[in-house]
């Protein structure tokens, strides 16, 4: 089951660039929340603060609090390793491990956590691949095909399966379909529909139609600030802020 995310006074910097400013947000559990906004508005940076990936960049800084369920993400006792397991991430460009088979890709996170039992691994790998709607396409060549030999859409679903295998509660998706063709894109969107029953999804997208299709809630970001956060329906039909309306109607971005 997914958990909610509470973001409180979140700020983030790249060196001297203030990329994310004073974000206050409650992301509801078991729903899909879309983050939209023009290029460079800080949406990717914001999302990467949720699983502590932002700090892997040199000269990066974060201030504020993020709570995933009951856990303080930036708390003193919390390990980044554990947060990243619980808050999974799928990147814009699929990045399966090229030296590993499909099976090993999905099992990678499990093996890191000490899973050795063959049967257990087989079970979880199958379950994850099914959840990612990839099982039927790869079940006959799990160990023979390398992760990189799949098509773009399949690679992305493999990355989703890989993230799902370690049983996260939240799935962060940074423009997961922008590098894919329309058919793969719609497969991914169907997937999100299925997944949100069991996970909390946060999806960054520059495609507003996608946000409308997939997410119940939408947040509009502009130059590092959260301008408006509401039900998707309201954002797209009757936004409260003029800037949101300008973006929606295509005045800029």
């Amino acid at each position: 089951m997914g958990v909610g995310i509470q973001v409180n006074q979140l700020n983030a910097w790249f060196g001297n660039t203030h990329a994310v400013r004073d974000i206050q947000m409650d992301i509801p559990a078991n729903h899909a929340t879309a983050i939209i906004g023009p290029s460079g508005c800080g949406k990717s940076t914001f999302v990467r603060c949720l699983n502590r990936m932002h700090e892997t960049i040199p000269n990066a800084r974060v201030q504020g609090t993020v709570k995933v369920g009951d856990t303080h993400v930036y708390g003193n006792g919390t390990s980044a390793v554990e947060i990243r397991r619980r808050v999974g991430m799928v990147f814009q460009k699929p990045n399966p491990f090229p030296t590993m088979s499909v099976y090993d890709n999905v099992a990678a996170g499990l093996k890191l956590n000490g899973y050795r039992n063959r049967r257990e691994l087989d079970e979880i790998v199958e379950r994850s691949l099914r959840q990612a709607a990839l099982w039927d396409e790869v079940k006959d060549s799990l160990k023979k095909k390398s992760g990189a030999s799949l098509s773009g859409g399949q690679q992305q679903r493999l990355c989703i399966a890989r993230a799902l295998a370690v049983e996260p509660e939240v799935m962060l998706m940074d423009e997961p379909a922008s590098a894919l063709d329309p058919i793969s894109t719609s497969k991914i969107e169907d997937l999100i529909f299925e997944l949100k029953q069991n996970y909390t999804i946060v999806i960054v997208t520059h495609n507003m139609q996608q946000a409308a299709r997939v997410a119940e809630f939408t947040a509009f970001f502009l130059i590092g600030n959260l301008i408006e956060f509401d039900k998707t329906e309201k954002i797209f039909t009757n936004p409260s802020d003029k800037r949101t309306e300008d973006y929606i109607t295509g005045r800029f971005g």
């Binding site: 390990s79 390793v81 554990e82 397991r85 890191l112 956590n113 000490g114 370690v166 049983e167």
Partner: protein
């Protein structure tokens, strides 16, 4: 789900950091030790005598390595007459003309040449020069070192030339300047500081080579009158003194080694300085 193993993973993580840092320390220790020892054992013997006198007969104390230092200079000069033009020419060819199969073949061959053990190059120089002259010579030593310089200079020249933006060449061609003129006056000029550093680097590399000189230049306790005589060289002299039974000669070996390493480090630092100022200083 998996918290129970975390402390172990965290421990392994810290352990690896420690081991990697430790490896770095272990690796850099000999560096400090060698430089330190060179200074410690060599500095006392570096005096005017050492730099201006030739060796005394074995067993006698005193004397210096003047002929060896001069000999090294002479051999390097001969080597550069052979190695620099061929090296730069090859580099120019590879950068400006050699794209496809043939270019790959040349590049590959240059890499092969680079990997040939220096003592084998010495054998070849012996075979080409010493056997016909029927004596050892600085010429033979120069041939050996020159051959070694070619791939070093070629590879670096090619890299420097490839860094010159294509738009520069195209601007020249657009003005009606022919290809050969463009390459000489524009492209090479632009990359000149980089190429000079490449040549200096190759000097630093071959100046310390002993093996190819063992049976080409052979060494000499006295001054050589011409390039067609056996000639002393700094690394050769260091080697001979190091394995000799006399303590005084050991002392001199350290002094000679100190001179050699200072020359190499100075030229390497010069290279770094010139390189960091930017490749495109020349021709602006």
């Amino acid at each position: 789900m998996m918290l129970k193993k975390y402390w172990w993973r965290s421990f392994k993580d810290k352990l690896v950091v420690g081991l990697a840092a430790g490896a770095t320390v272990v690796v850099l220790l000999p560096l400090g030790a060698i430089f330190g020892y060179l200074v410690y054992r060599g500095i006392g013997s570096l005096n005017w005598n050492f730099l201006t006198q030739i060796p005394k007969p074995p067993g006698e104390t005193g004397g210096g390595m003047a002929n060896a230092i001069a000999g090294s200079g002479l051999i390097l000069l001969i080597a550069s007459l052979i190695g620099v033009p061929m090296g730069i020419g090859t580099g120019v060819y590879l950068a400006e003309f050699g794209k496809k199969r043939f270019g790959y073949l040349i590049r590959f061959t240059a890499d092969v040449l680079n990997g040939v053990p220096s003592i084998v190059i010495g054998i070849v120089a012996y075979s080409l020069v010493v056997i016909y002259q029927k004596h050892f010579s600085a010429l033979a030593g120069g041939v050996a070192l020159g051959i070694m310089m070619v791939p070093i200079i070629s590879r670096a020249t090619e890299e420097m030339l490839l860094m010159v933006p294509q738009s520069l060449r195209e601007a020249a061609w657009g003005l009606g300047i022919p290809q050969w003129r463009t390459t000489l006056s524009i492209t090479l000029r632009t990359a000149s500081s980089g190429i000079i550093t490449a040549v200096m680097l190759s000097f630093a590399r071959v100046a310390g080579e002993t093996a190819p000189l063992l049976f080409t230049a052979f060494g000499n306790m006295y001054w050589s009158r011409s390039i067609n005589q056996p000639t002393a060289a700094l690394p050769l002299q260091i080697f001979n003194y190091a394995i000799s039974p006399f303590d005084d000669e050991h002392r001199q070996a350290w002094a000679g080694a100190l001179i050699l390493i200072v020359l190499i480090v100075v030229s390497m630092s010069l290279v770094r300085m010139v390189a960091s100022r930017g490749v495109f200083k020349g021709g602006n």
